[in-house]
Assembly symmetry: C2
Homo-oligomer: 327 residues x 2
């Protein structure tokens, strides 16, 4: 699949401004893994594969035009499309009667749990910001893109948006006010399996208890503190020990066939640990080296073949760059 819009009409209102401007921006927006097991709603990381491709240009008239170049039949009404919602939020803070044409070629399957909606929303606003000659900060872009997440799941959350825009592992210490911290990490291989079942983010949120035991919360914040320390100290063993979720996983994993078996066999194959990617159904596992990541993939295959469940796997690494300018 490839984008085919290089010859479509582009109008650039910035062309006469004297600064070096582009008529069209093409980007890649990476998939992301939210929560990172013990960091529900606050941790996430970007991966190098899969990613969406998008292209944006000015139209010469106010408003957003969305053209889908993929098979997913997502809405083209900007108010019902997550990328559109993000761009509309951006236009509200942009002077002048500006309009964009956005062409989207998604490779990240919607509903797979690896930040498909975030890639659309974040990719769109990062591309538009480049087209506008960078008037907005990354924090602004996260704010705009969260409108896409609200449309997708009913909640403004940034644990996919932030790593998609910043790259690497990000901590969203706080949403209001927004406080995003980039965390360094040692080299990590990521094995992802996407079983072809549907888990709606809104359903996965709906089944969570709104009250939790203090003792469980203490265990959870001990783990996230351990995970952050493990990442910053490049301590693989500590990362592995800290990848434990006593609150969310026990509830959500019920929605994912074979989850416990995949986790057990992946760890036996040498994975540091892992769990549900975002709200699922994808499962991710972290490994120190590619050989282990491949052994983990084999275990994932074996479980879902036994269950006769269609699935896709990815072996990838952490994407350090976030949304990437192509042309």
């Amino acid at each position: 699949m490839k984008l085919h819009f290089i010859n479509s009409f582009c109008y650039n209102p910035l062309s006469g401004s004297g600064s070096h401007v582009k008529d069209r921006i093409t980007i890649q927006a990476p998939a992301t893994v939210a929560n990172m097991v013990c960091g529900f709603d606050v941790l996430g990381f970007a991966v190098n594969d899969p990613y969406d491709e998008m292209s944006i240009c000015f139209t010469g008239k106010p408003g957003i035009t969305i053209i889908n170049e993929d098979e997913y039949n997502l809405p083209t009404d900007p108010e019902r499309n997550v990328a559109g919602a993000a761009l509309l939020a951006m236009l509200e803070e942009t002077a002048g009667d500006i309009g964009f044409e956005l062409r989207i070629c998604k490779h990240i399957k919607p509903g797979s749990g690896v930040g498909s909606s975030a890639a659309s929303s974040a990719g769109a606003v990062v591309a538009a910001n480049w087209l506008l000659n960078n008037p907005f900060t990354n924090e602004d872009l996260v704010r705009f893109a969260m409108n896409g997440e609200k449309l997708a799941s009913g909640v403004k959350h940034a644990d996919n948006i932030a790593p998609c825009i910043y790259g690497g592992v990000t901590l969203i210490r706080s949403i209001f006010p927004l406080d995003i911290i980039q965390l360094t990490a040692p080299p990590l291989y990521v094995t992802i399996v996407h079983p072809q079942i549907e888990v709606r983010t809104s359903d996965a949120r709906g089944i969570l208890k709104q009250q939790v035991l203090l003792k469980d919360a203490i265990r959870q914040w001990g783990n996230i503190a351990g995970l952050v320390a493990g990442l910053l100290k490049s301590d693989y063993e500590l990362i592995g020990r800290s990848l434990e979720d006593v609150l969310i996983e026990p509830v959500r994993s019920i929605l994912i066939p074979g989850f416990d078996k995949i986790k057990q066999l992946s760890k036996e194959a040498g994975a540091l640990g892992g769990g549900i990617s975002g709200s699922g159904p994808s499962i991710f596992m972290l490994s120190k080296d590619e050989e282990t990541a491949k052994a983990v993939e084999q275990q994932m295959h074996s479980v879902y073949e036994r269950l006769s469940l269609d699935h896709h796997t990815y072996i990838t690494t952490i994407n350090q760059q976030g949304v990437k300018l192509i042309v």
Copy 2:
């Protein structure tokens, strides 16, 4: 106050073993600040002032003899004394009919909320381990010393014990199994005020709700993740922003007169942030430099003078060493 036991009788069963052994060990055990605002039950740090002094020697007969060299009239029955309880746990894992005489000169007032019981328990077992020629690991010593905490508060917790033994800032990721992580930190000045009121650790635990809102727990683990990142990255601003406790402080601070005012005025005076030390009643504030730490102390004085409340203050720094061998 000084220890006066240098001429008391000491019997050393290891003397004939050929290794270099001491007949008597004298140590200083530092005060500690547990919780560190957003790390309830999992974070703590040691300070250079105040500290307890202890001296230990063999007696030649099984059992523990405790001699208090201070004004606090603590129990000398080893089963009712926190240092005794810790030593008894150690003796259970020590071969031979060994007995200790422990002399304690406490400078950390019991019940002040800066780890007085932990200093006794941890100091005793570290000293005894040195006397025995170090058969035990630091983790073993934490296990033994937690028996003292259980005697004092009804719960085995390590957020004072671990920093007292290891020094610096420590994360107790897990108690069962024990997983202690040392966290580096940039230079920090600590201002502590101890209002002369009594808050029992068991009462301070009793008023906590056993269930918390998931959204508050998320905010809390965002903050602890931010604090750990801030410490390891030496990012003072991030440390300051992360020193927020939405769960425990709102409940416990009610027991401490003037708490909100001290916090507000300390931050206005330039403190990065702070909160209740352990279960209180002491309050601690962190600052980047000594001048700010002194300005914070002035604010603490002013609040408690207005309330006519007796209080002690300390300006100190983080103790990197933990329990210290003197002779």
